[in-house]
């Protein structure tokens, strides 16, 4: 894009806030009752984090991969692409992350999710709760209806934050390749909300940044 520096963030926005939020409403109606499965998967992950056997670790990685693949295909390709031609590239990002999680977490068994008593791990678990509980509430407070809020494993922003939170628990430290796409999405998703004038942008920006810092500063447990 020539003279790219002359473009404001709002110049790149293709849709109104009303259209964007309504898209979530239509999407939720379309994919119901996948939400039940997504919520069950969050609960399952919280339970499995208390176990350290290989089966539990691979299951957590698998559930995380399912979230990314689902959001890539169902949300980006199936819904977001109706108002944003860039959504097909976002879908490629999410599917790539899903496949990376399958490769590192299931095929190679490189991801062990262990919660220690360290401050960092407690913050990571807190961030997981933020993505699952506080992000929908933040959406409601910012003006969305309940039928328009974002949910972990169903829509992209909380899924990216939850992934960073879980990867911050990985021992030994998560491969950095797994952090790139979730953090990049937090920037894209936050920027979209920022351009739409929503205060939710801060939740996504700060959560993504915290998740990245926690993951990069994570120390392996003995």
């Amino acid at each position: 894009m020539p003279e790219w520096w002359t473009y404001r963030l709002s110049d790149l926005l293709l849709f109104s806030a009303r259209t964007y939020y309504r898209m979530f409403e239509l999407y939720h109606a379309q994919v119901w009752p996948f939400h039940v499965i997504a919520i069950a998967s969050v609960v399952a992950i919280l339970v499995l984090l208390r176990r350290e056997d290989g089966w539990a670790q691979r299951t957590i990685a698998g559930l995380l991969a399912v979230w990314w693949l689902w959001v890539g295909f169902a949300f980006h390709l199936g819904r977001y692409s109706t108002i944003n031609w860039a959504a097909k590239y976002f879908a490629a990002m999410f599917v790539s992350q899903g496949l990376l999680l399958v490769w590192y977490g299931i095929v190679r068994g490189r991801l062990r999710f262990v919660v220690s008593r360290s401050v960092g791990d407690r913050m990571a678990v807190g961030l997981l709760v933020v993505s699952a509980v506080l992000e929908p509430i933040a959406g409601r407070l910012a003006g969305r209806t309940w039928s328009q809020v974002e949910l972990v494993g169903v829509t992209p922003d909380p899924t990216a934050v939850a992934a960073l939170a879980l990867l911050a628990l990985a021992t030994p430290r998560s491969p950095r390749a797994l952090l790139v796409i979730p953090f990049t999405w937090c920037v894209i998703g936050g920027a979209t909300l920022w351009a739409l004038g929503s205060a939710e942008a801060w939740v996504v920006f700060l959560s993504g940044l915290l998740g990245l810092v926690l993951a990069l500063s994570h120390r392996a447990h003995s």
Binding site: P2, E3, T6, S10, D11, L13, L14, F15, S16, T19, R22, M23, L26, R79, T82, I83, N84, W85
Partner: protein, 298 residues
């Protein structure tokens, strides 16, 4: 030269909502210099407002906006392949309303060799036999696209050829193309606070016989939000303005070298307000200076 069209007046008289938008008398129009065809001074943009995806409710609302636009005497609707689902939303409205005097203005926005196939797809989405005007969007690959568009014009597959930019970008290149290429239209940004094109592009358009479409008349709504905090001056009545959108649009279309402004909206009330700027008295030079001074000081 400013022209008065009768069809719009008849439409306005038939439209019960017309009086609200000050649509009395004959609709004002200007001639496209290259053909002498007349188009009303206010058209309809679709950037953001018509990109509603497959939301059936919102698509039906957009069709109603188009209905109000045509009922008010409007003709020119502008879109682009870049605008997400806007083209197909317009096409749904066209199929529903079957407007007799639609002037379809779209763009080519792709790299290199794909221009012709993109225009075919655009035509399919609009559900029209032929597009009236195809413009090179933001000068993207214009050296490849302009010869192709001129060929299509010669083959009567399109009627007019143009180029676009927005918010002052690449004006030197725009001027160079205007000087050397047989353009029918140029689309640029112009409003009461952003008047850069008055010094070079508008005089050049007059000299070269190129019609001028004005985009971003309200600075994507920011200008409306700014002025709406203040009262419309009483003297706005002297140029038949009942509201701020009409005030801002009449400033634009009263420039003799502007052919048409294309405000975008998804509101029926707003499209009627906007179309009101196509009726009644226009400001003269003295009044235009007064309008500038007023908006700059609030």
């Amino acid at each position: 030269m400013l022209r008065l069209l009768g069809a719009g007046a008849a439409a306005a008289l038939l439209n019960p909502g017309a009086a609200h938008g000050q649509m009395r008398g004959q609709i004002l129009a200007r001639r496209i210099p290259s053909s002498r065809e007349e188009i009303p001074l206010v058209g309809l943009g679709s950037w953001i407002t018509f990109n509603v995806g497959d939301d059936a409710v919102a698509r039906a609302e957009c069709a109603e906006v188009m209905r109000a636009f045509f009922a008010s005497g409007g003709r020119l609707i502008d879109s682009s392949p870049m605008y997400g689902s806007s083209q197909s939303v317009i096409g749904e409205g066209v199929a529903k309303l079957n407007p007799s005097r639609l002037f379809s203005a779209d763009k080519v926005w792709t790299g290199g060799d794909d221009g012709r196939s993109q225009i075919v797809e655009t035509r399919r989405r609009w559900r029209v036999r032929n597009l009236d005007l195809v413009q090179v969007h933001n000068l993207m690959d214009w050296r490849e696209h302009l010869p192709m568009l001129l060929q299509m014009k010669a083959a009567k597959q399109i009627r007019y050829v143009g180029i676009t930019t927005s918010e002052g970008r690449r004006h030197r290149e725009i001027e160079q193309i205007m000087r050397t290429e047989p353009l029918d239209f140029v689309q640029v940004t112009y409003n009461v606070l952003d008047r850069e094109i008055e010094s070079r592009i508008l005089p050049l358009a007059r000299e070269r016989g190129i019609a001028v479409i004005v985009n971003r008349p309200f600075q994507e709504g920011a200008l409306i939000r700014h002025v709406a905090r203040h009262r419309l001056p009483a003297w706005a009545g002297e140029i038949d303005c009942a509201n701020w959108p009409q005030f801002l649009l009449k400033f634009i279309v009263s420039h003799p070298d502007v052919t048409c402004a294309i405000p975008a909206t998804s509101s029926i009330a707003h499209v009627r307000e906007n179309m009101g700027a196509s009726y009644g008295r226009l400001p003269d030079q003295q009044m235009r200076r007064r309008m500038i001074a007023y908006v700059e000081q609030i």
